[in-house]
Symmetry: C2
Subunit: 200 residues, 2 copies
């Protein structure tokens, strides 16, 4: 096997291990040696592929968040009612959690909800998501689908906040997470928010 071919494997291995360890212990409490051990790799190799412990988390966030931004964009392009577009967004996020709870836990707990420490760096990208959602709301208002007395950005924050709180509830076992609750969650979320936004 060529040396070049082995490299990306190890890098991936480190990232995947980092997700597990960060999810288990939290970013701050994990030592770089924990990541290396979990990945079955030497300590120094982490620094061969990443400039710092922060950069590992960075990479994980950026990988995932860009998918989210793309998904929101796509949901908007896809057409349909604006309620359906919001449903697609909620569906993507809930689906992300369902598919890889550990990664989503890390993203939410260590970045999205850690705006004071690590998340500060990524505020612009996070904000972009809020704004993309707000755009859907604004278009929905223009189309007469949503009431006009709620600022789009405000509605966007409420919508995203409700989703994230729900995921947090699952993550910390404040509310039970079953397959059916995953199924229902998206619709319930959209119903809760949209019927509050809909013209009376």
């Amino acid at each position: 096997m060529a040396a070049k071919a082995a490299a990306p494997d190890k890098r991936r291995q480190i990232l995947d291990a980092a997700v597990r360890v960060f999810a288990r212990q939290g970013f701050h409490a994990t030592r770089v040696s924990d990541i290396a051990d979990e990945a079955g790799v030497a300590y120094g190799l982490v620094y061969h592929y990443f400039r710092s412990k922060d950069e590992v988390l960075n990479e994980l966030f950026i990988e995932r968040w860009s998918l989210l931004l793309a998904a929101i964009e796509e949901a908007d392009q896809a057409g349909g009612t604006h309620r359906e577009r919001l449903a697609a967004v909620a569906g993507f996020i809930v689906g992300s959690y369902r598919h890889d709870p550990e990664l989503m836990k890390v993203i939410i707990v260590e970045v999205t909800r850690a705006a004071n420490s690590f998340g500060r760096t990524h505020l612009p990208e996070i904000r972009r998501a809020y704004e993309s959602i707000a755009k859907i709301v604004a278009d929905g208002q223009a189309a007469g689908e949503f009431r006009r007395d709620v600022t789009p950005l405000f509605a966007s924050m409420a919508f995203y906040g409700a989703i994230e709180q729900l995921l947090s509830g699952w993550i910390f076992e404040v509310i039970p997470a079953s397959d059916t609750s995953f199924e229902d969650a998206k619709d319930l979320l959209v119903t809760t928010i949209c019927d509050g936004l809909g013209p009376r």
Copy 2:
């Protein structure tokens, strides 16, 4: 001035200083010496009044959160429509932020949204707030005021999540915080959530 009389002052001084420093730098990034300096007090005195740096944050959280729990309880006892009760809860939280943004920033950023690190200890108290709100929703459903196809705990999470996200938006200047936005926020929040919960 008697030594005994001075004691509570210094303790308060330390707590107040801690709020400012935690809000400015975040809990993790503040050294105990920062708190002491900000309070104009010797390093060791912090350890005279508190067992650890954690306990300082603990105290701040408990002081504030017990007020929140009491406020929810009171809003529920006060009677009126259940929509009004939720409005009282939202009003209390928004008011808390308006009255002391730094303290609320610390509570939210370092405890409530840090369930993986520090907040873990307080999960039970945090959960109690969700459950108290859920009780209001459940009673509202029983009274025919709210739709029944949304689990009370689910609605509670969405409601609280929307509020917290809004505060986070203000805290991190993702959305502008003006006096009028504080005024409007409570009503907008309640409108957004309740009209989604109301019987069609």
